[in-house]
């Protein structure tokens, strides 16, 4: 597609439930990134994919967080047993090597 697409745009879930967030990058972009933006905060790096492998997953906050990417395209970020502190906007981006990122509009996750 023309841009990075994320779904859902908004998600409200109950504490303890699992959620899946989806990112569809720009066609042909080999690199894909997940970031988290909490209210009033900067961007926190979560994980980076090059193709289907994740050379850097250093930002995942706990083992409740996982991500995968299939076919060098779509990526899913899964949060298990959600907690209130997981509430944030989750941003996905894709890029080519020396370019900046193109970001999606994000998924606003609210854990109640």
């Amino acid at each position: 597609g023309a841009g990075v697409s994320q779904s859902p745009s908004n998600k409200v879930t109950e504490k303890g439930k699992d959620v899946e967030l989806r990112c569809d990058p720009i066609s042909g972009h080999t690199a894909l990134y997940w970031y988290r933006q909490s209210l009033g905060q900067g961007l926190e790096f979560l994980i980076y994919f090059q193709g289907n492998s994740a050379p850097d997953k250093s930002g995942l906050p706990s083992d409740r967080f996982s991500a995968e990417r299939t076919g060098g395209s779509v990526s899913t970020l899964t949060i298990q047993r959600t907690q209130q502190e997981d509430s944030a906007v989750y941003l996905c981006a894709s890029s080519e090597r020396t370019d900046g990122y193109t970001f999606g509009s994000g998924t606003r996750l609210t854990v109640v």
């Binding site: 990134y33 790096f45 941003l91 020396t98």
Partner: protein, 113 residues
């Protein structure tokens, strides 16, 4: 450690006046530097980047930034601010041997009519 700092949480400027949003980075090799803007309830939009070459980089919406290696800075500037420039601005650094962008904490720009 590789990092980027935006020392101002908020910058206020009157419409028509020049604006500067500051950014400094830690020294480790030759960085790639970026500015992004985030409007309310929107994703981040790319403004401009410095990879190599001319230290003065021009980007979208009339913004420009100057790479200063001796001061390890990459300040964002615009000669004449518009109310519509009011948004959250992020500086980011990417080192040549990594693929990860490291973002600053953001600076909120408020342009008053």
């Amino acid at each position: 450690a590789q990092s980027v700092a935006q020392p101002e949480d908020q910058v206020n400027v009157a419409e028509g006046n020049p604006l500067t949003v500051k950014c400094t980075y830690s020294v480790s090799g030759n960085p790639y530097l970026f500015w992004y803007v985030q409007y309310p309830n929107r994703g981040l939009q790319f403004l401009l980047k410095y990879i190599t070459g001319d230290n003065l980089v021009k980007g979208s919406y009339g913004f420009e930034a100057e790479f200063n290696k001796s001061q390890t800075s990459f300040h964002l500037k615009k000669p004449s601010a518009l109310v519509s420039d009011s948004a959250l601005y992020f500086c980011a650094v990417r080192y040549y041997n990594t693929d990860k962008l490291i973002f600053g904490t953001g600076t909120r720009l408020q342009v008053f009519p």
